[in-house]
Amino acid sequence: MQLTVSQHASATIVAPVGRIDHASADAFLAQVQTLLATHGPDSPPLLLDFSAVDYIASVGLRALMVSSRQAKSSGGKIAIVALQPLVQEVFNIARFNLVIACFDTLESATKELSACE
């Protein structure tokens, strides 16, 4: 799994590519946690751009749950954007839309999360 990070005025965008499974979930979580370590109430939202994620296993979902908890504990905001249809189905079946906010686009996420400030 590859992962790129880009800083924007309105959000920090983390874009993993490929599968988040047993082989990659720990590394994915570690990278997100490193970013969240400096994330606080005044930070722009951390948006996980899932447009290039084509598979997520339960360990990947757990990584998202842990990341969400870390963000909340520091007062920061985290969300997922642009789920592919099959990954969206996994989210729905696992009820993970109740664990972490999901948005269709980066624009809708930044607009919604900015409105919450």
């Binding site: 339960s58 749950m65 079946i93 009820r95 664990v99």
Partner: protein, 319 residues
Amino acid sequence: MRVKFWGTRGSLPVAATAGEVKKKIIAALEAANGRQFTSNSEIATFADSLPFAVVGSFGGNSSCVELIGASEEHVICDIGSGARPLGHAKLAAYGPGKPQTYHFFVSHLHWDHLMGLPFFVPIYIPGNRIVMHGCHPDLEAAVRLQMSAPCFPVDFSQIGATVEFDILEPGRDYEIAGFKVRAKLQLHSGDSYGYRFEQAEKSVVYSTDSEHKLENRAEQHTFIDFFRKADLVIFDTMYSLADAITVKADWGHSSNIIAVELCQDAEVVRLAMFHHEPIHDDAKLCSLLDETRRFEEITRDGRAPLEILSAYDGLTVEL
């Protein structure tokens, strides 16, 4: 080998409410859409064509599963409230004049897995032999406790059958009633144990009240080995994954997602969703089955399909 489910509900027995029955009647009448029936058999045929959530029910008895193999001795996993109809069926089949041997494999000592014993009528009939197998050293004390005042009016000492307690060692193979049996420690309050049964090149794993921690991959591998190529895995799918790892973490149960992933990795033939959440009605349980089958389909990734069913009281699975 056959597997018959007598109780499939988790935590406590439930019954359909009047509201749920009314919903089924309305759905059946809507499906009939004014159609006229000329005979009872025509009505029965129509009823058989209705979806399971309308014409059937998962039932509400707590855990009790019978394994029917080559031996004349009876093999049963857990003694939940499903043991009551099981006992009645055995009496109807054998009567009081033909003493029988019943082997119960107890997953753990929580009430919903023991509560059927005082209502399992064969224990009151002299000549019957009951063997309770389990891995908890205090199995006998727990059984005696629930059949003593003030919990129950009939004391354990008054039952007519002979009762033996057989404490098993996890990880060791035993030959019992024609089955090769092995127990495995599971994560649950007070510990629980799963059982793998093998006979005539068929295998069944009974694994309920078992929580799986996603961060513990080593432990997951031990379950993959325990489930390996089983013809049927009976698995605790009580919660959604989200609930199981957040608000209901450490409650000792698992999810349909974990069930499918472990069974896929273990190359299991068939998965039975089990230990159903008591608040779920038949429609909800059917919808969860559909979702679980869909999850298996979209995560199959070139593997052989995993057949998935949702166990209900009265279901028999032929292996």
